[in-house]
Point group: C2
Chain length 250, copies 2
DNA sequence: CTTCCTGTGTTCGATATCGTACATACCACT
DNA sequence: AGTGGTATGTACGATATCGAACACAGGAAG
C-alpha cells in the first residue's frame, strides 16, 4: 500500500490511453474539457448487464473485464480491456446497453466521457470515430476467440491465455486477484482454479499465494497456452495504435 | 440454362432483407443500382478467415454461419445470420477482415454490394450506417452469448439453441443438414451429434433422418434449450427492424 | 483466548465429454 | 450386382469437468 501519497494523480495524462493518444492535438484539445479523471477500485462495476451507460471509460493503468452473467449466477469472461481500448462501445453502436457486465479487474485510473459527448463525437465522424470502430473490431476478435476457446480448450490452457492477456495490460508480472475472482472471470469453480494453478505451480510456471499470482516463466506459460492468446494479440497489434509506455512520468 | 421457369428469381426483392427493407425509398433507390442478386449454395464460403472481403451480403432466404476455425481444423460457430442482417461487418468497422469464416448453412438468395460501395455508404452516415451499427450490436450479443453458452451449457442444450436459431431464419420446421455439418457448426464430433440427436429423438422432440432434422415439438425444444436462445432473440427483436414476411409474393 | 465468520483450499465420487475403433446404411458410378 | 465414397450409429475406456461435503486460515468481536 505505497499508494498513500499518490503523486500520480495530477500526472495522469490522457495519452496513457492508446486511443486518446492517437488523436490529433486539436481533437484532444477539444475533448479535454469533457475528459474526467476517475479512480477505479478493484471489483467496481462500471455498468451492469442491460443497464444504460452514463459514461464511456478510457483506462489508463487499470484493467476491466467484460463478463456475461447467467440467470443462475454463473459467469464467463468475454473480453479484457486495458489502456488499449475503451469501455462503452454500445453507446455509439446504437444499442445503448449490452448484455455484459464491466467490472474492474485491476484498480487504477481512467478518463471518462459523458455518454452524450461520446455519441456526438462519434456522429461527427472524425478520428475518434475511426479509432472506436477499430477497437470494436479488435474486441470482436477477442470475443470470437473466447467463444472458440471455451468450446475446445482445457481449463489449464484457458488459464494461461487469461494470465497472458492480463499481464499484457499490467505493469508487473504479478496479478493480484483471489482464486474466487479468477473463477468468476473464467466461469470456474474455486476448486477448478485451485487445481489448475496447482498444476502450473508444480510445473514451476507460476507461484500462487493467497490471492496473488506471480508468473515466473512467461515463455513457458505462452507455450502451454492455446493458440488463442497469440491470435488475439496479433490482431490487436494489427488494428490498434500502440499504447504509450505506461509508467513513471518525470 | 435458362432461368425461365424459376419465377422466384425475378421476384426477389431487396426488402426481403430486414436491413434493406428499413431504408427510405430514396436510400433504396440510390443503392438499387449497386445491389446485385446472387444465389448462394449450401456450403459456399463467402469469405475465409483473415481474407479481405470483396462484397457485403444481405441474405434474403438463406442462412449463413460465422465459424471460427482453429489451426488443427476444429471449428466453432460464433453466430448465425439470416435475412435480419448482413455479412461483412468488418468492411466498415475498419479491420477489412475478421478471424471467422462465413459459410452458407442454407442455400438461397442474397443481395450483395461491392465493398467500396458499402464503405462509402457507411461513411456518408445515413440510415444504412445506423442500421449496420445496430446489427453489429445484435451480432455482438449473439457472440457473447455463444461464448458463455460454450462455457456452461451441455451439448443437448446447445443443440437445442442452435436448432431454434436456425428455425427462426428458415421458412419450414425442417433443417437440411448432415450430422457431420451440424458437428462442424457446434464444434462437435459426429458421434456427439448422434448422441444428442438420439436423446432428443427418443424424447419425441425431433425426428432425425439422414441429414434432415425435423422439429416436432418446438415448445419442448425451447423448454430444453438454455436461456441463451431467449436472450439472443429478445435482444435481436429489440435492436433490429422486423423482417418482411419471407414468402409468396402476390 | 475463544468464537464466529468470511474467504480460501482440498478430497472424493458422479457425470459429461472426447478419442479410438468398428459396424451399418445409402447413393452414384462402372 | 459390385465397388468406393460419404453419411451414420454404436461401444468402450480414458479424461476432464463439476457438485457436495469437508478442512483450514486469519480478522473482528466478545
Amino acid at each position: 500500500m505505497t499508494m498513500n501519497h499518490v503523486p500520480a494523480r495530477a500526472q495522469r495524462l490522457p495519452h496513457e490511453n492508446a486511443l486518446l493518444a492517437a488523436l490529433s492535438s486539436a481533437d484532444c484539445e477539444r475533448l479535454s474539457h469533457d475528459l474526467e479523471l476517475v479512480p477505479l477500485a478493484l471489483g467496481q462495476v462500471l455498468y451492469e448487464s442491460g443497464e444504460t451507460m452514463s459514461h464511456a471509460y478510457f483506462p489508463l493503468d487499470c484493467v476491466v473485464s467484460l463478463l456475461y452473467v447467467m440467470k443462475n449466477g454463473e459467469s464467463a469472461e468475454i473480453a479484457v480491456v486495458g489502456n488499449e481500448g475503451v469501455i462503452g462501445l454500445a453507446l455509439f453502436m446504437g444499442g445503448e446497453s449490452t448484455m455484459s457486465r464491466a467490472i474492474v479487474q485491476n484498480a487504477g485510473y481512467a478518463y471518462r466521457l459523458k455518454a452524450q459527448v461520446l455519441k456526438d463525437e462519434f456522429q461527427a465522424g472524425g478520428a475518434l470515430a475511426r479509432l472506436l470502430l477499430m477497437f470494436a473490431s479488435a474486441l470482436i476478435t477477442q470475443m470470437v476467440q473466447t467463444a472458440a476457446c471455451n468450446r475446445h480448450h482445457s481449463i489449464d490452457q484457458q488459464l494461461c491465455r487469461w494470465m497472458l492477456l492480463s499481464l499484457d495490460r499490467l505493469p508487473s508480472e504479478r496479478i493480484n486477484m483471489t482464486g474466487q475472482l479468477v473463477g468468476n472471470m473464467l466461469g470456474l469453480d474455486l476448486k477448478e482454479v485451485s487445481l489448475a494453478t496447482g498444476v502450473l505451480e508444480k510445473a514451476g510456471l507460476i507461484h500462487y499465494d493467497n490471492g496473488e499470482i506471480t508468473v515466473l516463466n512467461r515463455a513457458a506459460v505462452e507455450e502451454r497456452s492455446c493458440e488463442c492468446y497469440g491470435v488475439v494479440k496479433k490482431e490487436s497489434d494489427r488494428l490498434l495504435p500502440r499504447a504509450e509506455p505506461v509508467h513513471q512520468a518525470v
